[in-house]
Point group: C2
Chain length 179, copies 2
């Protein structure tokens, strides 16, 4: 049975396909519930998907968690980007006097019996004034051990330490074991 990755993002789909192989993109619009815990948001989406489709599903959430603000923005990152952007996020970290952050991907996997399991990848880093290009908060996140931000690293460099890759590799291991 095909594994369906619920996403409208072609880049994420390609990244997941490059690791897992046979994965179909399922571009359905499922509401994201409010929570600071990505597991809850993912679970609600998977349960919604289960109601309408049969099969196996994955949903992923990649968010930025600031130590200064007890995790905020976390899975609410989209709304921070829309309202205050990277400059504003940097200003927040500065105001709280703590630049420690974590980029974290959580993947929820729902098997054909509708059981849900989670797989996680994360990378520690520092919030810095925006440098470079890239997607979303890439320009303000400088991973530990690097002098460049995600926005300044090449796609290859970034993918090599990607928290999404780590999470997908864990899912891959799980799928191999359960065959």
């Amino acid at each position: 049975m095909a594994l369906n990755f619920i996403t409208g993002n072609k880049d994420k789909l390609a990244e997941v396909q490059s690791i897992l192989g046979d994965v179909a993109g399922l571009d359905i619009d499922l509401a994201e519930i409010q929570s600071l815990d990505a597991h809850e948001i993912i679970q609600a989406k998977l349960e919604e998907a289960q109601k309408h489709h049969a099969g196996e599903f994955i949903v992923e959430d990649t968010s930025l968690y600031l130590t200064a603000t007890n995790g905020l923005p976390g899975p609410l990152i989209k709304w921070f980007m829309k309202s205050i952007g990277n400059d504003g996020l940097y200003k927040m970290a500065e105001a709280f006097g703590n630049f420690e952050a974590e980029g974290k991907t959580i993947i929820g996997y729902s098997n054909s019996a509708n059981n849900i399991q989670f797989f996680e990848g994360s990378i520690k880093g520092t919030i810095v004034p925006p440098r470079g290009e890239g997607f979303g908060w890439d320009p303000i996140f400088q991973p530990e051990g690097y002098t460049k931000t995600f926005g300044e690293l090449t796609a290859e460099e970034k993918n090599a330490i990607s928290m999404r890759k780590v999470a997908v590799e864990k899912l891959k291991e799980h799928l191999k074991d359960s065959v």
Copy 2:
């Protein structure tokens, strides 16, 4: 037909009953979707309620909107309170150098034909270092023309300028007109 106020908050229910009269509290747990627009959140809740129950419903959202951050936290206020609290919200306004804010109640009303209309009440004010008691962000919100925060005003003083009251009064007018 009875009007159902979807809330688990007895104080809010009592406030609405004191204005509208015959309103039943309906304490069902409906997910709040992520959005910076309270209308969208309310609409999703009302549509969910319509699926499971017949009747007329109201859902309300009372949130704090900061000018400095283009409205943030807005309807995401709950998660800001949980993670950084009033001290953190003040620190944010300070970091952005703008203390202008608005307390806003939006009420969504779904009639027996499932048509949805919105009613709004708002009050402008200033974000200040926490003073007084009260609920949620009361201690950091000083309404325009006052030297006390919502947390320092008596319940009577606060209710007299309540944005929730204004929104409910508008709904009351509407219900009267549509009889």
